[in-house]
C-alpha cells in the first residue's frame, strides 16, 4: 500500500450471522419454461445459459445490472479473469460470504456455468480476509475454485477491483447471482428471492435471510424478532446504508446487502472539529478531507473541485474515525450532489 493511503481497520461484528445457516422465508417459487428443459446441465451451450439467465431475470447484486446482459457483452480476451465478488467489508454484513460457505455445491455449479460462457483464463473468489471474530477460517478452495483473500483495510471492495489488470478486461459477478444461475439451470427456477443479513443489537436472533424480492423491512424484522425498540433501522450496508423511517413500506431489492437495527443511535456530537487530521489519514483516496468539509460547509464549490471532491467514493471511513462525531462523509456527499446540480445548470 502506498505511504499516503491508509483506510481504517473495523471490527467486523459478523459473528452470529455468518456461522448460522440461512433462514428461508416461506415463499412460492415461480418457474419458467424453455425448449431445452431436459438437456443435462453440463451440455448446455453458451447461448442456452445466457437464455436461461435472461428468462430467470437474474439481477447481479454487486452492481444491480441484469446478469444476461453482463454475460452477453463481456468478451474477455485470451487472458481474461472472472472474479466472484464475495467481499463483505462492512461490519455486520455477510450476505455474499454466507453463499460461499453454506451453499457450496450450487455456488460451484453457478461458477462453472459462467466459466463455460466466458471461458476466462483464471477465475477466483474474492473474500475479505480481515475478519478476526469468527471461530472458523475461510476455506482455501470452494468447489475447486481458488479463494483469493483480499486483505487491507476498509473499504476493501474498491481497492480490490482497482487492481484488476488494466490491459486485459475482466468481469466481477456477485456470489448470489451465481447461486440463482445454478438454481435456474437445475430446476428452471426464476429469481424471486434475494439474500441479505439481518443484524444489529436490537435483533433477537440475527442471521442471514433469503426473502422474496419486495417484502417489507418490518416483515423481515418480525421474522428475526426484535429484543427492544430500535432507535435506528438501516437498509443497505452498515457503513454506506441509509436510515429509514417507515419500515412497513420500505421494500427490499436484490442489491440491498442487509438490514441493521440499532437500539441506540450514536450520540449526536456538539463538539467542533478540532483539526486532529485523522480523517485525512483514513481517506482511502488520499483526499484532504478536513479542508473539504470546511469548504463544503461554507459552500465554496469551485475550490472543492480543486480538492478533487469528485474522487470521493462515499465509503464513510472519515466519519467513522472522527472523534468529534461530525458527519464528514454526509457533508461532502451532499456538497458533491450540489456541485453536480450546479454544473448541470451551468452556474459553476
Amino acid at each position: 500500500m502506498s505511504f499516503f493511503v491508509k483506510g481504517i481497520l473495523l471490527e467486523q461484528k459478523k459473528e452470529p450471522m455468518l456461522t448460522r445457516s440461512t433462514l428461508v422465508m416461506r415463499q412460492e417459487f415461480q418457474y419458467f419454461d424453455c425448449d431445452f428443459m431436459e438437456t443435462p446441465i453440463d451440455e448446455l451451450s453458451k447461448e442456452q445459459i445466457i437464455e436461461i439467465a435472461r428468462l430467470a431475470e437474474i439481477v447481479d447484486e454487486s452492481d444491480g445490472k441484469m446478469l444476461w446482459e453482463k454475460l452477453e457483452k463481456a468478451e474477455l480476451g485470451e487472458k481474461g479473469t472472472l472474479i466472484v465478488d464475495a467481499i463483505d467489508d462492512e461490519p455486520y454484513i455477510s450476505s455474499q460470504m454466507a453463499i460461499g460457505i453454506h451453499h457450496q455445491e450450487k455456488f460451484a455449479l453457478g461458477i462453472e456455468l459462467c466459466e463455460k460462457v466466458l471461458a476466462p483464463a483464471k477465475t477466483y473468489i474474492a473474500m475479505y480476509k480481515h475478519i478476526f471474530d469468527t471461530n472458523f477460517s475461510i476455506p482455501r478452495k470452494i468447489g475447486g475454485y481458488k479463494v483469493e483473500k483480499i486483505g487491507g483495510r476498509y473499504p476493501a471492495e474498491n481497492r480490490a477491483y482497482r487492481h484488476i489488470p488494466k490491459g486485459r478486461n475482466s468481469i466481477v459477478i456477485g456470489s448470489c447471482a451465481m447461486l440463482h444461475l445454478a438454481r435456474a439451470a437445475e430446476d428452471s427456477r426464476k429469481m424471486s428471492s434475494c439474500f441479505l443479513t439481518v443484524a444489529g443489537d436490537a435483533v433477537s436472533n440475527p442471521r442471514n435471510v433469503e426473502v422474496p424480492v419486495g417484502t417489507s423491512v418490518e416483515e423481515i424484522l418480525r421474522l428475526c424478532g426484535l429484543t427492544e425498540e430500535p432507535e435506528v433501522i438501516v437498509v443497505g450496508g452498515s457503513m454506506t446504508g441509509r436510515a429509514i423511517f417507515e419500515p412497513e413500506n420500505e421494500l427490499v431489492g436484490p442489491t440491498t446487502r442487509g438490514i441493521v437495527a440499532l437500539s441506540r443511535s450514536y450520540n449526536h456530537s456538539t463538539y467542533n472539529c478540532i483539526g486532529c487530521g485523522r480523517c485525512d489519514h483514513a481517506c482511502p483516496k488520499a483526499l484532504s478531507v478536513s479542508t473539504m468539509r470546511k469548504l463544503a460547509e461554507f459552500g465554496k464549490f469551485d475550490e472543492l473541485r480543486n480538492y478533487d471532491a469528485a474522487q470521493c467514493i462515499g465509503c464513510g471511513a472519515c466519519s467513522y474515525v472522527c472523534p468529534a462525531r461530525i458527519d464528514i462523509a454526509a457533508t461532502i456527499i451532499k456538497a458533491k450532489k450540489q456541485m453536480e446540480l450546479a454544473k448541470k445548470e451551468g452556474t459553476l
Partner: protein, 197 residues
C-alpha cells in the same frame, strides 16, 4: 565594505525585527486595502520601495539642516511630504511615458500608493532616529519590503479566517484587527521593548 554590511543589517532589522506594521502599527489601512488585492502586492511594494529610497536620498541633506530647530516636529513631516509630492509627479510621468502598459494597471491608485502612511512612516522613523545616509536608505527599503512581508502574512491569515465560524458581530474589520493585534504581539516578543516612534 562596512557600508554594505551596515546597509544590509539595517534592512534586515527593518524587515523582520522592527517591522513597520507589527511593531509600530504604521500603514495599516493601506495594508487592509492591499490584502484584498493579492495581485497588486508586488507592484505596490516596489513602488513604495522606489519612492522611499528616492525621497529618502533627496531629503537627507535637507533634514540635516532642520532637525535641530525648535519646530522640527512640524517642519520635518511637511518637508518630507513636499518631497513625496515632487517624487510622485516624477514617478507619475515616468511611468506614464516609459511603461504605459503598467500605467493603466495603476490608474489613479498611484496617488494612494505613494501618499500613504507606510511611505511617510518609512521616511520619518529614520529621520527621528537620526540615522546616517546609508542606514536611512537601508532602513527605508527594509521597511517597504517589511510592509510587503506583513501583507503576505495577513493574506495567509485572512484566507484561513474565511473557514472559521466567526460570530456575526466580529465579521469583517473587527476580526482582521484582532488577528493583526495577535500577530504584532508575536513580533513584539522579538523586540522586547517599545520602539521610539
Amino acid at each position: 565594505m562596512t557600508y554594505i554590511a551596515q546597509f544590509f543589517s539595517m534592512m534586515l532589522t527593518a524587515l523582520f525585527i522592527e517591522n513597520i506594521i507589527f511593531t509600530r502599527a504604521v500603514g495599516t489601512s493601506w495594508l487592509f486595502y492591499l490584502v484584498k488585492r493579492p495581485k497588486e502586492i508586488i507592484r505596490y511594494t516596489l513602488v513604495l520601495a522606489a519612492v522611499v529610497t528616492l525621497s529618502g536620498a533627496i531629503g537627507y541633506p535637507v533634514r540635516g539642516l532642520i532637525h535641530d530647530t525648535q519646530y522640527r516636529h512640524v517642519l520635518v513631516p511637511v518637508m518630507y511630504i513636499g518631497i513625496l509630492a515632487l517624487v510622485y509627479i516624477v514617478v507619475y510621468f515616468f511611468v506614464k511615458k516609459v511603461l504605459p502598459g503598467q500605467f493603466e494597471h495603476f490608474g489613479m491608485n498611484l496617488g494612494v500608493g505613494v501618499f500613504n502612511c507606510a511611505a511617510l512612516g518609512s521616511l520619518l522613523i529614520p529621520a527621528g532616529a537620526r540615522l546616517d545616509f546609508i542606514s536611512t536608505i537601508g532602513y527605508g527599503i527594509g521597511m517597504s519590503f517589511g510592509f510587503g512581508f506583513a501583507v503576505v502574512i495577513m493574506g495567509y491569515g485572512l484566507t484561513r479566517l474565511e473557514y472559521c465560524h466567526v460570530p456575526k458581530a466580529f465579521r469583517g474589520v473587527p476580526i482582521a484587527l484582532i488577528y493583526l493585534g495577535l500577530l504584532s504581539l508575536a513580533f513584539y516578543g522579538l523586540v522586547g521593548h517599545q520602539l521610539p516612534t
